[in-house]
């Protein structure tokens, strides 16, 4: 027998009351845990995915939409731009390097993105099977795509028009998987990558079978005589001055739009921040209510327990021991509540990630633990101390003789 066990026994003796208080606290903490995990991983992922991309150039429209579609592959593209124009702007002396992107098709919800090998280099892609594309209609697929669709090297599939859900199939020519990219934790896990040429040819009406056998461009823009379009350009600046001059130049002097990922994303987080703060406040209110619940439960039970406490004193417990006994009960309750809360939080995120494997939260992990979670447990225990302080004090002051003669 020890004090911890004693407090535990009293908690177990009132299972309904105890579990209600634990659940309420756990709920509040679970919300905060999910928010913490998502916020932390979102920011990490957002930053990671945008590394090396100083600017995105695309069709006029919402700059946030341009960044979301071209860097994170979540929103729809703003439209297409002429290849000629893109080549023109890429010759700007402030630009060090550009990577073209062509979008518009998907295969069972996963986006097919036309680009060149520079895009693979940008994300440091390595292959777990096969290798990069060399011919039109060769594709490499991200690890999540491979797992979800059970595709392996050599498989073929037909892309569908549209970004998310299919409108009609491009059944004239099959894509062929030539490589599977190793898990990277970045956006490419969710993508099907191919050459710019593949995206063009799949939308062409006629079929030039000779063209299909020619190797594709692995860097820069493909050579073509025809009027072609691309969706956007990822830009790397040559020097810091570019950050000041280039966006303004492009936005005012051309029919194109330039958007900075870091700027747009911080704007997005600012917008989301209001919602996050709201949910956080709600969670804190729930936690405060659960703290009150614990206080009331302890305080009420104390009325019935005064006799127990007096008896404990007669068999040798000091006032301080009784104080600790009640305090421990509150802390034990909130400690268990916080553990349950963390568990529910992770479980909830896990369910969320498993059920939405293509959207913005794809690639988040539920098995990541943060230092902040330790703080959450400490915070919960402080709540426990606060909630049980007054009942514990009242236990401390119990007058034995008076209590025993009642």
């Amino acid at each position: 027998m020890n004090l911890l066990k004693l407090s535990w026994k009293y908690l177990v003796a009132k299972p309904l009351n105890t579990s209600l208080n634990i659940l309420l606290l756990a709920l509040g903490l679970a919300i905060i845990t999910v928010l913490l995990l998502m916020q932390e991983q979102f920011e990490n992922k957002m930053t990671k995915d945008a590394v090396g991309i100083d600017l995105v150039i695309g069709a006029k429209g919402s700059p946030l939409q341009l960044v979301l579609s071209s860097v994170y592959h979540i929103d729809f593209p703003t439209g297409n731009i002429a290849l000629e124009e893109a080549i023109g702007v890429s010759r700007n002396r402030l630009i060090k390097n550009t990577i073209p992107l062509g979008m518009g098709d998907n295969y069972r919800g996963f986006r097919i993105v036309g680009t060149n090998h520079d895009y693979l280099a940008l994300y440091g892609v390595t292959f777990s099977a096969g290798s990069s594309w060399t011919l039109p209609f060769d594709v490499v697929i991200g690890q999540n795509v491979a797992k979800k669709l059970e595709l392996t090297v050599g498989d073929t599939f037909v892309g569908s028009h549209g970004i998310g859900s299919a409108s009609h199939d491009h059944d004239e020519h099959d894509y062929k998987v030539v490589g599977i990219m190793a898990q990277s934790g970045s956006v490419v896990d969710q993508l099907i990558l191919t050459s710019m040429e593949s995206v063009w040819y799949t939308h062409d009406e006629g079929h030039d079978h000779e063209k299909m056998q020619l190797p594709v461009a692995t860097t820069g823009f493909p050579q073509t005589e025809e009027d072609r379009e691309i969706t956007s350009l990822l830009v790397e600046y040559r020097n810091p001055i570019a950050a000041v001059q280039l966006p303004r130049f492009i936005n005012s002097r051309s029919s194109l739009q330039a958007a900075s990922p870091s700027f747009e994303i911080s704007r997005l987080f600012e917008l989301l921040g209001i919602g996050v703060t709201l949910i956080q406040s709600l969670a804190i209110i729930i936690i405060i209510i659960s703290g009150l619940g614990i206080f009331i439960a302890l305080y009420n039970s104390l009325k019935e327990r005064k006799y127990d406490l007096a008896v404990m004193r007669t068999v040798g417990a000091s006032k301080g021991v009784l104080f600790l006994h009640i305090l421990l009960e509150g802390v034990l309750l909130t400690f268990l509540g916080s553990l349950l809360g963390l568990f529910i939080g992770h479980l909830f995120l896990f369910i969320l990630v498993v059920s939405y494997d293509q959207g913005a939260i794809a690639g988040l992990r539920a098995d990541v633990f943060l230092v902040e979670e330790v703080y959450l447990v400490l915070f919960a225990m402080i709540i426990g101390v606060l909630a049980s302080l007054i009942p514990a004090w009242s236990a401390y002051r119990t007058d034995i003789a008076k209590q025993l003669t009642k």
Partner: protein, 212 residues
Amino acid sequence: MLKATSIQFTYDKKRLFTLPDMSLSPGDELLILGKSGSGKTTLLHILGGLLAPQAGEVIISGTPLYSLKGNKLDRFRGKNIGIVFQKPHILSALTVFENLQLANFFVGQKRANELEKTLADLGILDKKHAKIDTLSEGEAQRVSIARALSNQPKLILADEPTASLDDENAEKVIQLLKAQAKRLEAVLVVVTHDQRVKNHIANQLTIGALQA
């Protein structure tokens, strides 16, 4: 062993209890008789270190009880004084054995073997792991005696231990108290107005309220 000298106590300013002096040796028994309101429970509380008197001193094994303060008094009481109340007042969140272990824990002892022996002596060893609410009244009172004996006290105080029991159980309880006090060579003080107890303890003291 147990000495009480010139003890005075008052609830309010009007009624003053003056309690008779007493001096008892190990193994002695004392029955204190008195009507309700005669101050016998108060006397028991004073002897048990639960309530400080206005004047006078209680000395147990050479230690003046009320020279001890706070934690020291609690611990001294836990170690040396076992108290049996009119109602069992066993902690219902714990099992029978846990109730006894708790008494050990508060004074920093572990006597699992002795606890079992006590339970066996009192005939409730089979109730060792029983929940409190499954006990009969007689059993519960025996558990409370076992708890009072947990720390092998030098002084056993019993406050109306038979009041809520039927004749058979009352007889058993008083015999058990006497037997255990003998075994531990402890002083046994029983406070009661129960006539059934009278025949069992020869050394008797009757007290009554005195007007100041």
